[in-house]
Every structure is written in C-alpha cells, then in structure tokens.
C-alpha cells in the first residue's frame, strides 16, 4: 500500500460524491469518484484500488451486485453506504461480503474512522471478519444471534444484550478457548465501536456472567485466567 491509500468512491448522487471525494482527499486519501457500477468495474481493472466506498441504491447495476463481484474477484475491502435504516439492507450487504456499512446521512469523520480501522486490520495482517452479522454461534446451550444482538437460552427465550455486552460476547464467541487479556479485549471490542468501552472490562464480564452462567459466582463458561485475562471455555459452533 502506498503512502496515500487509493479509494474508489461509487455513488450516483453528485451532491454526495463530489463533497465526499473532497473531504476524503483532504483527509489524506487518493480518491477516484465514479457514478455507476459499470464505471467502477472499469476502474477496478485499471487501477490499484485499496478500498471501495459503495452506495447501495444506484440505477442500473446496484451496489450489492457490484459488492458481490468485487468479493468474488479480489480481496479489496468494501464499505457500503445505505440510505435505509432497515435491518435487511445491512444484513444483505454484509452477507454480500462487505466489510462495513454506514447509514446515510453519515458523519464523514466516522466514515474516515471506519476506513482507518479496516486499513489497520489489513496492515497488521488481521483476518477479514467476514460478515459477523447475520451469523449465529452456538455454545453450551446458548445461541448468539449476531443479527439481533441477542443471546437465546435453551428454552428459546431471547436475552437482548447491550452494545458493550454484545461486543464482548462476540470477542469470546469468535475466539473460544483463547486467553484474552483485558487489553486485547479492549482492542477487539473497540475495533468496531470506538469509545463504546469506557467502563471496565471486568464490569462487563460480570454482567455477562450474570446472564449466561448457571452460577455467576462460580463461573464455568467465562473463566478468569490468573495473570492472563479471560477465556470462554466452551465449544463454539458457527451455524
């Protein structure tokens, strides 16, 4: 990756495309802005693109279709822009292999922050967290439904999670039987939701334990590791 990452911005709305391209340029990116999926395909073939910012709703070929094409042919990260707040859009988007999404109207700063998170992950050789949303993880009689940010117990009763609890639970569910230090947990959970984690990890751990442990004082699922941190001691299956 060069000093200035090359972004491809695909949006049919000139009123968004142009000021956004300017803003991104001011923030240290090289930006190529196009107005259709067809044009984007041409650019993708001709240029070395580091990341695509893609509007979902476009005349002609829409963003989802282009996103799937990109995912089939390359590893270029994709951030989707969507005007609809409906759940379906974002889930479909993430299933199509997008790395992230932002809802219109979005704060350009937030977009830049998310772009940087993705680049940081790519730079450190981190694995693509392909669409955690929409998936379900099963462990120790519990189901973790990422789409609804909910834990479902053995009786089929859903226990909704707060954002922080959910992020923490995801960190454990995607890394079962690994010892995670407090710093690591902070890092993992802050990756997606910046500043969502002002409160101590231990506090959140005890809240989670209260929800999922048969006996919160004597935890058998989320175990404390002396001097290390915490570990989810369970077999996790991704459904």
């Amino acid at each position: 990756m060069s000093e200035r990452p090359h972004l491809l911005l695909v949006d049919d709305e000139r009123s968004i495309r142009e000021p956004l391209a300017q803003y991104l340029t001011r923030n240290g990116f090289r930006v190529t802005a196009v107005e259709s999926a067809a044009e984007a395909r041409v650019r993708l073939n001709a240029n070395a693109i580091d990341l695509v910012v893609l509007d979902i709703m476009m005349p002609g070929e829409d963003g989802l279709s282009l996103c799937r094409h990109i995912r089939e042919t390359s590893e270029i990260p994709v951030i989707l822009l969507t005007a609809r707040s409906e759940e379906t859009d974002r889930i479909v988007g993430l299933e199509m292999g997008a790395d992230d999404y932002v809802l219109k109207p979005f704060s350009p700063r937030e977009l830049v922050a998310r772009i940087k998170v993705i680049f940081r992950r790519v730079a450190t050789g981190g694995q693509r967290v392909t669409a955690p949303d929409g998936a379900t993880y099963a462990f120790a009689g519990w189901l973790l439904k990422t789409q609804e940010r909910t834990l479902v117990d053995a009786e089929g009763v859903a226990l909704p999670l707060s954002t922080a609890e959910y992020n923490l639970m995801m960190a454990f569910a995607t890394r079962p039987n690994q010892v995670l230090s407090r710093d690591q947990l902070l890092d993992i959970t802050q990756g997606r939701e910046a500043n969502a984690f002002d409160r101590a990890i231990d506090n959140q751990i005890s809240r989670l334990r209260k929800k999922i442990e048969p006996d919160p004082r004597n935890p058998t699922l989320i175990k404390t590791v002396w001097g290390g941190g915490y570990t989810l001691s369970a077999e996790v299956r991704k459904l």
């Binding site: 968004i16 000021p19 005007a83 219109k104």
Partner: protein, 446 residues
C-alpha cells in the same frame, strides 16, 4: 344474566329452533295418537261384550245346554262388584245404538281376578323364568237391561298390560331428528366454515396487517361475500404496499440531500457552526426516522419471539449508561413475553429519552402483574397535567412550556410507542407519580 343454553352461532340457533319445533310437533302428534289409541282400546274392550250380548239376545229362543254360557239371562239385576267403568258403558251404549238394539240401561264394572294361566301363557312365562301358574287378569262384567226387569250379563277378559308407547315415540323422534337435523347440520357447517374463516382472516388482518386469502366455497351468497372480502383484502394490500414503497422512496430521497448536507457541513471553517449544523441534520434525520417508523407501524417484518423483557430493559439501560445518561435500573425478575424485540427496544428507548430530557432522571423497572408484564419508566420531572395525557400520545404533540425548548423531536416519540404497543396487543399508560414525576408504562401481554 345471559341465558347460557341459547347458542350464539347462527347454525346453532337454527338447529336448536328446528329441534324444538320438531319436538313440539312430535308431542302434538303423540297426544293425538294417544287419544285415538285410547278410543280404539276402549272399543276393543267393549266390542266382545256387546257382540256376545247382541248374539245372546238374537238367539234367545233356541237355548242350548251350554256348559259355559257366554251370557246369562236373569230377571234381577245381577250383583256387580268392582269398579264402575263409565267409559265402557258409554261406548257400549253407542255401539248398541249403532247395531240397532234398544237397551234400557247398561252397567259395566271391572274387577281383577286371579286365574290360572292358559297353556301358552304358562309356557311363555316358563321360558322367561317365572314360577307362578296363576296370574292376575282384568275382568269386565257387563250387564244390560234389555226389557224392564230383564237382564243379560257377560264377562270379558281385558288386557292389563301397560301400554308401550313412549319408546316408540322416542325412536320416532330420534329418526326424525336424524333425517332432518343431519342435513341441516351439513348445510350449517357449509355455511359456518367459510364465515368462520372470514372472521378469522379479518381478525388476523386487524391484528397483524397480513392475512391469507379465504377459500371461496360454501353456498352462493357466502361465496360472494368471500370473493368480495378477498378483493378488498388484496386492494388493501396493494395500497399498503404502495404506501411502503412511497415511504421508502421518500426516505431515500430525503436522506440523500441530508447526507450531502452532512458531508458539506464538514467544510465549514467555524468549529461551533459546524457542530450545530451537524446537530440539526441529525435531528432532521431522527424526525424522518420517526415519521417513517410511525407510518410503517403495524407492518413490521420483524418476527415475534420469546424475550426476557427484564434482560431487554437492562440492555437498553446499559446502552444509555454507556453514553453517560442519568438512567437507573432496578433489579427485576425474569419476565418472558412474546414480542418483537427491536420494536420494544425502540419504544423503551423513546420513553427513557423523554424521561431524561423532561424529567432529569429515568428509573426503569420491570414488573409482572395480572398476567401482564409492565416495563416502567419513571422520572423526577414535573409530570404532565392529567387532562393533557391523552393528547400527548397523539402524533406531533409536544408539551408546551417545556423548559427544554431546544430539545428537538417532532412530537412523535409517544405516538410511535403507542403504535408499537398496539401492534403487540399491549398499551402505553401515563400517570403522575404520587412522589412527583411521570410514570410511563409499557404494558404487554405476558
């Protein structure tokens, strides 16, 4: 109090009425039959005596040395012991008249006599396992004064068997019921099934905003009704779909310029101005969101599921705490309800937002009572005047005189909460707390 026996359904009422009418007709029929049967019975009791006497009188001259004369002649009134049978006397008088015999007076008495059984009777009784050879038999003694001072009398056995009539009537009524009521039941079901289906479909539609079309069957007029209902249903669907499409388009078309504005706002030099602009844009977006949600209320695609509402409230409160909002959650028991969790989260968020904006602090708790689950958000604010509470739940209503004039919103928060509650078959209740402040409760069927 309602008369419980009276069925509520159309078919039930028709069948009950027909059954009652049939029964009354059968009863009248029975009464007439019984009367006729009694007359016949009387005639059959009277006739042998009358014929014997008529015969005896006709053959008075040629007396034979009969061992057992069928009629005895006497010059005095014969001794008559027993119960007088005026009905037989009258019938006999009529019969003598019919024959053309003029008699002066008729006396009939009945007494019971123990007689040896006849051979065939004994034989039958034996088969049945009975022991005695004697049995009680009714005897009629008929004495007729045919000329002044001259009498002739005779004896007749009568059956003392009780009349068997009721069983036959019941059987007859039963057969009639089967013949009449079964087809009626069949017709009734043909009528009731499509009507019931229509009702269920309409109720489902009212509750969920979606319903399957009803099978067009049954009698012609019912089928017509069903066809009309289905046509109405698909038309409403079309309109609702159109509404959704239109709202989607409006949402998209308004969000695009908002997004553009939001991006451009970043190039404003003045930091304070920039922050205020983006705040305004966020607020417009929230209002747009509320309007779209309210317009889509009742057409949610989110499935119902069993949710621990205490955990839900706890999660929502936790998210507020993360943002540093003054919200507290009381420890609550597990309370499982069948809900759309995203919608309930949204409703609860709206209430908590109101409480923190207008009421300083939000106290959240979950309680179970009378088969319902209550999510309670109480605050420390001034409350709402009783006469304005209903109004507050209407769209675009905001509390005038609110100290926080600069806090935004289109006044859709509570209207949206109420729409979500209605969709869940629950309700939103507002009340002023005795210790001050407002208490808003989401009441859900538990």
């Amino acid at each position: 109090m309602r008369w419980r026996l009276w069925p509520r359904s159309l078919v039930g009422q028709i069948i009950l009425l027909v059954a009652i009418a049939l029964f009354v007709a059968q009863a009248i029929n029975f009464a007439l039959l019984l009367q006729e049967r009694n007359r016949l019975d009387l005639t059959s009791q009277t006739a042998p005596g009358v014929y014997r006497i008529a015969d005896a009188l006709d053959n008075r001259g040629e007396r034979r040395g009969d061992d057992r004369p069928r009629a005895r002649f006497a010059d005095n009134p014969p001794p008559l012991n027993g119960q007088r049978r005026a009905d037989v006397e009258n019938r006999a008088a009529a019969m003598f008249e019919d024959i053309g015999l003029n008699v002066r007076s008729i006396h009939v008495v009945q007494d019971n006599e123990r007689l040896p059984m006849r051979r065939w009777e004994r034989f039958r009784r034996h088969e049945g396992g009975g022991g005695s050879v004697m049995h009680t038999v009714g005897r009629l003694v008929m004495a007729v004064e045919y000329e002044p001072g001259k009498w002739v009398s005779t004896q007749i056995r009568t059956g003392s068997r009780p009349q068997r009539f009721g069983g036959w009537l019941i059987a007859q009524t039963g057969i009639l019921y089967v013949i009449v009521l079964l087809p009626l039941l069949w017709v009734g079901r043909r009528l009731a099934r499509p009507l019931g289906q229509l009702t269920r479909s309409a109720e489902q539609f009212a509750r969920t905003g979606a319903a399957d079309p009803v099978d067009e069957r049954g009698p012609g007029d019912v089928r017509q009704l069903t066809t009309a209902f289905n046509a109405m249903r698909s038309r409403i669907f079309l309109m609702l779909d159109e509404k959704d499409r239109m709202l989607g388009a409006i949402g998209h078309d308004l969000r695009t310029p908002l997004a553009s504005l939001r991006v451009r706002a970043e190039s404003v030099e003045d930091e304070g101005e920039r922050a205020r602009m983006s705040e305004t844009i966020d607020e417009m977006n929230r209002m747009l969101d509320d309007i779209l949600s309210l317009a889509r209320a009742g057409r949610s695609s989110e499935p119902m599921q069993k949710v621990d509402l205490s955990a839900l409230a706890d999660a929502v409160v936790e998210d507020f705490l993360e943002l540093g909002s003054p919200v507290g959650m009381a420890d609550s028991e597990r309370a499982v309800g069948n809900v759309r969790p995203q919608q309930i989260r949204r409703a609860l968020r709206n209430l908590i937002e109101n409480a923190t904006v207008y009421g300083e602090r939000a106290h959240v708790s979950v309680a179970r009572e009378d088969g319902a689950i209550r999510l309670i958000v109480a605050d420390d604010g001034p409350g709402i005047a009783e006469d304005r509470m209903e109004e507050m739940m209407e769209p675009f209503t905001r509390l005038e005189g609110s100290r926080n004039r600069d806090t935004g919103g289109a006044g859709l928060g509570l209207a949206l909460v109420r729409a979500i509650m209605t969709e869940h078959g629950g309700s939103l209740r507002l009340a002023n707390r005795a210790e001050g402040g407002l208490e808003a409760s989401l009441i859900l069927p538990g």
